[in-house]
């Protein structure tokens, strides 16, 4: 129903309505500013990376199997770093995803209201733990434990890093999942229950299948988050630029390499340029992962919009 305009109301459809030019231009320019900043970042990364190819071939940079920037002649092969990042991220996602689903299901379907709030508060609290603190825990508690229990050379390895990254990511992943779970269409839940489905059957046969799209998208977004995380892997992945063959091998992921080496690198050297190149790799892979995640989400929303 259209309502009559009262005194002091503004008819925004009136031809006499003047747009608020200040607000309009602030919104417009801040929207564009963010685009400009992203383009500037990309430009900046490339600007500091491209000179590397005067001394190192792109094939060597992308597919070289050895990263030894301090030997002579220096070797700038990023493949072991990339593999280490992928291995740690995938393993961490494999841990994060099912645990988050279980936490979410427990929160939304099983726990009584009070406990649900407690878990929520706990998750919020957990997500506010700085990653450096998780790094310290990995370093001082998990690492010696792993070393002694599995009789390893070092407890600083892929497994330890993945585990700590999992703790870092679960709160974010679970709360994204919970948003979707809570807002799952009530009509569909009732539709299933009206056919005699128990709540577990409704969960397995209607809700979880219905959330495939969002959960796939959440998996990608979590992956993107894990991929670029630096502090934990810098502290506890073991910092050895080798191909990790088992999850108990130490490794040196991309992001940790930049953080560890940038400080001791002279500006304008091939090493400096190579570190920017690593930045480019992280940037584009993360961008790509997030784009896939977003496109899955959009596709799902289009499907759910009926008729």
């Amino acid at each position: 129903m259209l309502q009559k305009l009262g005194k002091g109301d503004v008819d925004i459809f009136s031809p006499h309505f003047k747009k608020n030019n200040v607000v309009d231009s602030v919104l417009w320019s801040s929207g564009w500013l963010s685009n400009v900043i992203i383009i500037a970042i990309i430009f900046f990364l490339f600007y500091n990376w491209v000179p590397l190819f005067k001394t190192v071939s792109p094939i060597e940079f992308f597919f070289g199997t050895r990263w030894y920037p301090t030997v002579t002649p220096p070797l700038y092969g990023t493949l072991p770093l990339l593999i280490a990042t992928i291995e740690i991220s995938l393993f961490s996602l494999i841990l994060t995803f099912p645990i988050s689903i279980v936490v979410t299901i427990f929160m939304t379907f099983i726990a009584p209201k009070k406990i649900r709030y407690l878990i929520k508060i706990f998750l919020e609290f957990f997500s506010s733990i700085p990653s450096v603190v998780l790094g310290l825990i990995g370093l001082s508690i998990v690492s010696p434990y792993l070393q002694n229990t599995f009789n390893l050379d070092t407890g600083l390895n892929v497994f330890n890093a993945s585990l700590m990254l999992t703790f870092l990511t679960i709160p974010i992943t679970a709360s994204m999942m919970e948003d979707f779970m809570v807002s799952f269409p009530r009509e569909q839940i009732e539709g299933a229950e009206a056919l005699g489905a128990t709540s577990i059957e409704t969960l397995w046969k209607v809700i979880l299948p219905g959330l495939k799209g969002p959960f796939a998208s959440i998996a990608m977004l979590s992956m993107g988050r894990i991929f670029g995380e630096t502090m934990i892997v810098l502290m506890i992945a073991g910092n050895a630029a080798i191909f990790p063959t088992s999850i108990f091998d130490p490794a040196k992921p991309l992001s940790a390499t930049i953080a560890a080496e940038m400080g001791e690198t002279a500006v304008g050297t091939p090493h400096f340029y190579a570190l920017f190149g690593i930045g480019v790799i992280i940037f584009f892979i993360t961008l790509f992962i997030n784009l896939i995640g977003e496109s899955i989400r959009i596709k799902y929303e289009m499907e759910m919009r009926r008729n």
């Binding site: 009206a194 005699g196 299948p209």
Partner: protein, 251 residues
Amino acid sequence: MEVSLKIENLSAYFGEKKILDSITFDIPSKAITAIVGPSGCGKSTFVRTINRMNDRFENFRTSGRIILDGEDVLSKNYPLESLRMRIGMVFQRPNPFPKSIYENVAFGLKIHGIKDKKTLDESVRSSLKAAAIYEQVKDNLSLNAYKLSGGQQQRLCIARALAVKPEVILLDEPTSAIDPIATKQIEDVLEKLSEDYTIVIVTHNIQQAARIADYIAFIYLGKLVEFGKAEEILTSPKEKLTNDYLTGVYS
């Protein structure tokens, strides 16, 4: 008249608020009973109480009894799953699952443990036929149900409810989100179904009740004002309230 459901002194509350107040009447078997009344009078709550759909709300409670085959379905001992197999429901807005047409209709059977492909196929086919949608979808049972029109989706939901072979079908304003032509199709389906099923339909549309109902129950402010044969209620209501409602004094 044969009785399907005996409603005895039924009251329902959300928290402190009384939504239904001491409703007593018998719902006749194999006939269409329309529940009419102004919005907010408790019509929907009434049908949702019959199959205990409101049990999901923590602050919902009832008193009184609803007797089906000599047993009180409101009793906590009455298993919800078997109650809902015997009393099916179709909702206001079509709510198919985002699955194929076939999977939608087979859903109820599958959760009740029927796996035999032949039984499923046969049941899906006969249910779709009974809901008068089979001819339109028979070549494309794997189509996602969301691709159907609103009216088709609602008939699919009727087919889905029929597949588990209920005795009673509750419909909560099933045509309020649907265009007139699709409404007519659904009304035809319901009239046909009333030969074999007990049908309880909530409607705010008196014309609809006049077109299809055999019996009408008029509810006002949570109380049953009048129940009787449709033509009697429509032509010579005993209560002044009913008469006022029918002549449009309030709506």
